[in-house]
Symmetry: C2
Subunit: 339 residues, 2 copies
C-alpha cells in the first residue's frame, strides 16, 4: 500500500497541518514545540511509515552516521570476522552503518580507501590491522577520528586496541605452573611476528619470576600443522621428559597434541598442552579438548568502536595502545577433570 517513493517530511508536515520546520522538530525531539503538536506529527509520521532520508540529513549536517571499516589484510579471515561482528553490533546500536573495504594486503591502499570514504562523509574510521606487524598510520591524512584494532601502527599516539599477547601467554604459563608442570616447552609461529614475540616474552618473563626457564629451544615454525608435527617429534626426541607444551595457536596445538598422543603419552597426565585463539574447529575437536586463550575478538571490536564513537562525539580520547587480556579457557588438555 505505500507509494512507490517513500514519504518525505514535507508530506508528513502537510498532512499534519504544520510547517516543515515544525515537523522536523517533532521527529527530532527538538524543543520549542508543544507536546500536542509533537504527538500529532508523530502519529501522521507513523501512519505514513515515514523514515528520514539519511542522505539528505547527512548532507546538511555534514555527518553521515556511517563509519568506515578498513581491513588491512583479509587473509586473516578468521580474526577479522569476529572483530567485524563485534564492531557491527555497536555500530547498529548507535543507528550507524558501516562501509567496509579491504586493502588486500597492500598497505598503501589504506590511504586511498580512506579518501574514498571521506568523500562519503564517513564520521570515523576503524582500521583492522594485523598482529603480525605494524600498519601504517593514516590518522594524519584522514582528518577524521581513527581507531586501530588488532595490530600496532607506525605512530605511537594513535588509538590502538590490541590483544595483550604478553599477558595472555603469561596467564597460560601461570596456569601450567599452578598445575605443577616443571619442564615446559614452546612451539609457536614465525619469529618475526610481533604477536609471537610478545607471547614468548610473556612466557619467559613469567617463568623467570618462578626461577624457571623454558625447556629446550623455542620452536619457531610456520603456522601449520605439518610443521607443528615435525616440531613436536623433534621436541619429544630431544626432551623426552617434557611435561607441558605451550603452543602459539590452537592450530599448532592440535597437531602437537595428536603427535604427542601418537607416541603413547597421555594428555594431560604425561604432557599438558595449551593452544591460543580458542578457534573452535581446533580447540574443541582434539581429544582431549584444548586449554587455550580466547582473545574475545568480538569484544575487542566492540570496545574499539566505542572509543571511535567517543572521538566522534568530540570527547578527548588519549592516544596509545589498550591491551585486552583475553580469557583463559581451561579444557582437558591441561586439566584432567571431566569437562
Amino acid at each position: 500500500m505505500p507509494a512507490g517513493r517513500p514519504p518525505t517530511l514535507t508530506e508528513v508536515a502537510r498532512l499534519a497541518g504544520v510547517s516543515l520546520t515544525t515537523a522536523s522538530k517533532a521527529v527530532n525531539g527538538r524543543d520549542r514545540i508543544s507536546e500536542a503538536t509533537r504527538r500529532r506529527v508523530l502519529r501522521v509520521a507513523r501512519e505514513l511509515s515515514y523514515a528520514p532520508n539519511l542522505v539528505a540529513k547527512s548532507l546538511v549536517s555534514g555527518r553521515s552516521s556511517i563509519i568506515g571499516v578498513l581491513l588491512r589484510d583479509p587473509m586473516v579471515h578468521r580474526f577479522a570476522m569476529p572483530i567485524l561482528i563485534g564492531a557491527q553490533s555497536v555500530v547498529e546500536q548507535r543507528e550507524f552503518s558501516a562501509v567496509v573495504a579491504d586493502a588486500r594486503g597492500v598497505v598503501d591502499r589504506l590511504t586511498d580507501l580512506a579518501a574514498v570514504f571521506r568523500r562519503r562523509n564517513v564520521d570515523g574510521l576503524l582500521v583492522v590491522g594485523d598482529n603480525q606487524g605494524k600498519s601504517p598510520s593514516i590518522t594524519a591524512s584522514a582528518r577524521i577520528p581513527c581507531v586501530y584494532v588488532y595490530g600496532p601502527t607506525t605512530h605511537s599516539r594513535d588509538v590502538v586496541h590490541s590483544t595483550d599477547d604478553f599477558a595472555g601467554a603469561a596467564t597460560v604459563v601461570h596456569h601450567l605452573v599452578g598445575l605443577g608442570r616443571l619442564r615446559i616447552a614452546h612451539v609457536t609461529g614465525p619469529d618475526h611476528a610481533s604477536a609471537v614475540e610478545q607471547r614468548v616474552l610473556g612466557i619467559t618473563t613469567h617463568l623467570s619470576e618462578h626461577c624457571m626457564r623454558l625447556d629446550g629451544d623455542i620452536a619457531y615454525r610456520p603456522w601449520s600443522q605439518r610443521w607443528a608435527r615435525l616440531a613436536a617429534r623433534d621436541l619429544l626426541a630431544a626432551r623426552p621428559d617434557i611435561d607441558a607444551i605451550v603452543c602459539g595457536s590452537d592450530q599448532l596445538a592440535a597437531a602437537v597434541l595428536e603427535t604427542v598422543v601418537a607416541t603413547g603419552r597421555k594428555v594431560p597426565d604425561d604432557v599438558a598442552i595449551t593452544g591460543y585463539d580458542n578457534w573452535a574447529v581446533f580447540a574443541q575437536e582434539t581429544d582431549p579438548a584444548l586449554t587455550t586463550i580466547d582473545m574475545e575478538l568480538e569484544h575487542l571490536g566492540a570496545t574499539a568502536v566505542n572509543d571511535l564513537f567517543a572521538m566522534i562525539d568530540g570527547q578527548r580520547v588519549g592516544g596509545g595502545t589498550r591491551h585486552h587480556e583475553g580469557a583463559l579457557v581451561v579444557r582437558g588438555s591441561t586439566d584432567p577433570r571431566p569437562s
Copy 2:
C-alpha cells in the same frame, strides 16, 4: 597544505572562471562543452585536488553508488568472508562502496536491515545466505535490486547464485571411479542441510550411472572432527575392505584421514579420501594433503555482484538459481603421484 574543508565544485568553477554548471559538465564528461574549457577546469580541479561530494551527488541523483551487503548468519565466517572479498573487488572496480550488516542468524532482521539501507539510498542488495537452508526473500519488500548468494531463498524467481553441490560431489566421484575405486563410502554433515542433501544426490546419481552404489550407510554427523573420527572407526569396522571415503567437508576428511592412517592403512593406496571446501588449514595440512572441491567463493561473490550491477544498470536479469560448479583440486589423498 589543503584547507580544512575539502574544495567544492563551486570553488573549482570560480577559480577556473566558469559557471558551476560548466564545471559540473567538465568533471562528469558531459557534452556541450569545449575541449579547451574542459581541460582548464580539470586542471584547476586537480590543483585543488577536488573530489566530488558523493553524498550531495547521491541526493540529487537518487543513486548512492553504495550497495548493501546483508549477512544472514556470520556463524559461517569461513564462507562469508571470501564471498565478501570477491564482492568487494567488483564493488570497488565500479567505484561503489559496500555497507555491511549482519542479521546474527535472526532472519526477520534481514528485512529491517534492508529498510535501514534503503534510507541510505543503497542501489542494490546482496544477501549472503546459508547453504544449509532457505533464507527469506526480501526482494518484494526491498523495492530495489536484490541478489542472493550462497543459499536458496523462499521465492523461486529470485536471482540466486549458489554453489553446485550436486555437480561438485559428482565430480569427486567421477575422479574416484576414474582411479578404479569400487567400494566408496560417504561421511558427511547433518542430513537436514540442503548442501549435504545435494551432495549425496550427486554422489548416488553419478554412481548409479556406473551401475554402482555407495558402500555402507551414509554417515550423517555433525560438522565435527570428533564425530568424524567415530564415524570412520565404525565404517572401517563394518566395511574393512572400503577403498575410498568421500567426505562432506575438509574438516571431516582431515579427521577421517587421521583415523584411517591410524589403523595402518595407506592413503591413498589402500583408501582414497576426499574432502570438500578446500579449506587450507585442513586440506593442505593432512598427510597426504586432501583432494577436494574448491567452491571458488570469491568468484561466486564477484559473479553475484556483477549480476546485481546488471540489474542496477537496468538490464533485465532473469530470475532463478545460477549454479557454480567449483573446481576439483587433486592432491595426495587420492593421487599417489608426488605433489
